[in-house]
Amino acid sequence: MENDTALLLYHDKAYCLGENEEITLCDFSHSSSLFTAALIPTKLLTPHAFTLPASLDADELTIQTEIKMYNEANLNPNENYLIDYIAHKQESNYIIEAFAAKESDVEQLVEPYAKSVNAIDLLFPRFLIYQTLYEKSLDNEKNDIFLYISHDEAYAAMYKKGRYIGHRLFDTIEDISKKTGIEAVQVTEYLNNKGFVRENYNADEYHILDALQEIFMKSVEKLVYTLNSKRKVFAYSMIDTLYIDSPDMKLQGLEEFFQSFGYYDLRVEQLPFDEKAKKFPEIVNVLTYAKSVAEEDSNCEKLNFTTLERKKPLLQYVSVHYILLTLFTLLLITAAYIYTDMKLNSQREQLSAKKALLSKKEQMLKRLKTKEKSLQKVRDKLKDKNKELQKKKYVYATTIEVIPKVRQNIQKRQKFLYEVVQTLAKYRLNTLYIDQNNSKQMELKIVTERFQRDAISKFMQELIKKGYKSVETNSVKLDENIYTSKIRIEK
């Protein structure tokens, strides 16, 4: 399968063409990877030839061809048709060989394969297959006819210098069998072995020969008519060879039909078959053509009426490219979204943590401040109490200290008075009054005789000697022979 190049669906079987041009029966499943072709019977095609201006492009040609086909080829407007064409460019116009196939016919034709294969890449009429022969063995400077007669298909295809220019239907073996009343197998045998040579037939078989000749004469007549009409269009001078495309169909004496129409030089030959194709001689050229069409640089003319087109791989659709691009962009966006969201979430968490930390610190600070305040209050109270206690202690201490002093003051006062009185007595001085305010001050008024006036000063000196701080008088007065003096003493 790896070396296979094309697959042909033919009579409910699949045939594969290898690279060495060997044909093998193969599985339908190979169709998924191989260029798959099938034949459409020529009788299902409605042909029509016409000319169109050479100035039209491919799309316009297609549209104009469809219009012409519906207008001029008697297509049923209520039916859907598949239309394809071959365009021969001449000086100022195209000669269009157009063909229409009913969609319903094609679908019916394709239906048996529809379940087995995914696609039929090429559904084409058999008469196109001879192009490839010109690339190999035939002279592409010649004008030839290819006659194919089988049980269900029969035509004569016209080629000018290797290019298809037209065809004419012939009677198939089945048709001949019906017309002559001879079994199809016998018809084949007659055509192959005896052809149209009277000597080959017994006298009792002449009626068969006559019937065959009549049938073929009509077909050849139509073909010659077509050849003559095509000659005007394609401007060829003569037909060189008629190739019989069937190894079991010798058709001896066929050239005589053409000679009766003036084609004296026409050679009738069997189409040469490759030795490798002996196994499947009928389809070797079909597969070779299909393979040739499948090639990318193929310049084979083709007609394709398939309704089971191979679907393009999804990845080859431009729209799928856009979808993939969109998905990729969305993927990028999603990734960016996730990344950004993660970053933001992480930042939000950090922010929350910071807020919580700040709140905690603020509360702690508040607690500490409250505590500090309460402690300061306690401290202030203790300070106040301390001051109070110190004051109290001072007062108590002072009190304790003062009490003995108060007592000492009694003694001091008594001693003060005693010493003053003693000194007064010593100097025989009298007093008018003594005022002792406390233990430190005393004021007294001394009285003495005139002759004893010096006693006053002696009294004062004595007290000073005893250590009194201040002993002073402001005056010494004489009144009625008595001296008086007011003395102030401070201890």
Partner: protein
């Protein structure tokens, strides 16, 4: 599905190649612009806002220094402890001083003591032949030294000879009480000297 895809494909293929290529640029650009406009721009703004808030919070957090206040609290606690100790010591000292004062009965100046002292005065005046002219007892409340408060005064007027007067005065200055003799005046104009003085009695009163 496939038919729609084919239709779309036909439509796309019917466009100019340049337009199809442009679409390759337009699709991601438009999607990214939408994403930027509807999400990224907002997210960036939030990110920057959060960064600023974060910086402010960091600054605020750094600004809150509990160590200083903790040190203050510790120092206040120490001071409280010191003050408590000191106060306790002071209270003990005061209590001892109080005990000392109380042990000397300085705190009390009872009616009985005053009556006893009056008796001493009268007996002494009789003993030293003092002609007691008047004896006035006056209630007072005058702060003196420390806790000492002058609560009572005896104002005495008398006549006696000088020596007896001195002996009388000395005898009533008893050491069992806290007292002070003031304004002693001895006048000798008459036949008998006239004596006047004031004795202030003190009491320890703690009314601080």
């Amino acid at each position: 599905m496939r038919e729609n895809l084919e239709k779309l494909e036909l439509f796309l293929l019917s466009r100019q190649k340049n337009e199809r290529i442009l679409l390759y640029v337009v699709i991601p650009t438009v999607l990214l612009l939408f994403f930027y406009y509807f999400y990224i721009s907002g997210a960036l703004e939030e990110y920057q806002r959060n960064e600023q808030t974060m910086q402010k919070l960091t600054h605020k957090i750094a600004k809150i220094n509990t160590k200083k206040i903790e040190q203050k609290i510790a120092s206040t606690k120490k001071e409280i402890l010191r003050l408590k100790t000191q106060n306790s010591e002071l209270e003990s000292a005061i209590m001892m001083l109080q005990t000392d004062i109380d042990s000397n009965n300085f705190s009390f100046l009872t009616q009985a003591q005053i009556a006893a002292y009056l008796e001493t005065i009268l007996q002494s005046s009789q003993k030293y032949n003092i002609d007691l002219k008047s004896l006035d007892i006056v209630n007072k409340n005058i702060k003196k030294y420390g806790l000492l408060r002058n609560v009572k005064s005896f104002n005495i007027d008398a006549e006696a000879n000088f020596l007896n007067a001195v002996r009388f005065i000395n005898s009533i200055e008893t050491p069992t009480m806290i007292l002070e003799l003031n304004n002693l005046a001895i006048e000798s104009n008459a036949t008998k000297p006239h004596i006047s003085f004031e004795i202030n009695l003190f009491k320890v009163i703690d009314d601080e």
